[in-house]
Subunit: 214 residues, 2 copies
């Protein structure tokens, strides 16, 4: 469908933002928008928007702008949001529970099938009507239940071991909340959410002006 | 202290990773490392590392490499981690509680002073020994308690209103978990954690090969 074979991560990371703004337009019953108007709302230049979208095909028409619903659907497809993913969470602590309860999750096509933990206090409790299983069952669960995406919410010391089990059973996408870099084969995708790195970036930017005025 | 006045966000976003790897080296009693060894561990090229660190001053010595503790401390200072920040959380739902209970938080100098919510079921409960206050008290709390960093964990509809109150009372750094872009004056820093955008990026990357082979 598209022109290029390798899209830069910078473009890819902007796509969800387009998707989010287009969803808002639809909520507000706006069905058509010029690249100029879109650019004012989203904060990217109009030429940036045209360039980004051009990576994936021809959207919008000269003098008409974009059909919001079509563009929303197309970007959804590009993002793989028209698919369904069988998903598990390993680690049912605070972060694991927050992710499990995250309401947008199911809407985006990520269907939570099982949650695992090793803490006896957590094994057996129900989160979103899913009973937390003992992590000792992870291997046998995955052997019997093909799974698309594994979410790692365990302490960093255990993250690699959990990832290894996931990879062994054919999981191709890992959403990693553990504050460590996990190693996986080339055909497995890891997307990290490193909260402390985000917090440190905030702290850096707060201090940046002092740093260079000393 | 440093050579340049504007460091690119790409460099800034790599600094926490240096900090994390150096912490691991210290844990393993490694007190000296060459840029080559560091590069093998961290996965950036040695020249990238030298270039990044050169933005902030002269670290490391030809033929000796880096003193791990010194470099760790210096990067901590650059990241503003030698400072203390009075912090509040608005929104005590799943994400707010996960952030409040996030153990690295205090270690990095972020001291949680208060948590607010508007849900009567949450107001009054204790999270990390802090009683959740009614969000109606946010204005008067901030008027009496100067605060450095505000963490927004409310639904997107309320995020801008909460941010406006924070800004009015002099908060200069906002860590935003609401899935929306909030508008603030130029002297206020916003760092976003948009979980759905991260998840969509994962989903895109999982489908990328199909996308271009159709």
């Amino acid at each position: 469908m598209a022109k290029e074979t390798k899209i830069s991560m910078a473009v890819i990371r902007r796509l969800p933002k387009y998707h989010r703004y287009l969803a808002e337009l639809l909520t507000n019953d706006i069905d058509r928008i010029s690249s100029k108007e879109l650019s004012e709302r989203i904060g990217f230049t109009a030429s940036q928007i045209r360039q980004d979208l051009n990576c994936f095909g021809d959207f919008g028409q000269q003098g008409y702008g974009y059909n919001v619903r079509d563009l929303y659907n197309e970007i959804g497809k590009i993002l793989g949001l028209d698919k369904n993913y069988k998903t598990i969470i390993v680690g049912a602590g605070n972060i694991g529970q927050a992710v499990a309860n995250y309401s947008k999750f199911e809407k985006l096509g990520f269907h939570l099938q099982a949650i695992f933990d090793k803490n006896p206090k957590l094994v057996g409790i129900r989160i979103r009507d899913i009973e937390v299983k003992d992590v000792d069952c992870l291997n046998s669960y995955l052997a019997q239940n093909p799974t698309d995406i594994g979410i790692i919410c365990v302490p960093k010391e255990h993250a690699q071991m959990v990832a290894d089990i996931m990879v062994k059973h054919g999981i191709k996408g890992i959403w990693n909340f553990a504050p460590t870099d996990i190693k996986v084969p080339d055909d497995v995708i890891v997307e990290n959410v490193h909260l402390s790195e985000s917090l440190m970036t905030l702290s850096y930017r707060l201090n940046e002006s002092n740093l260079f005025n000393e």
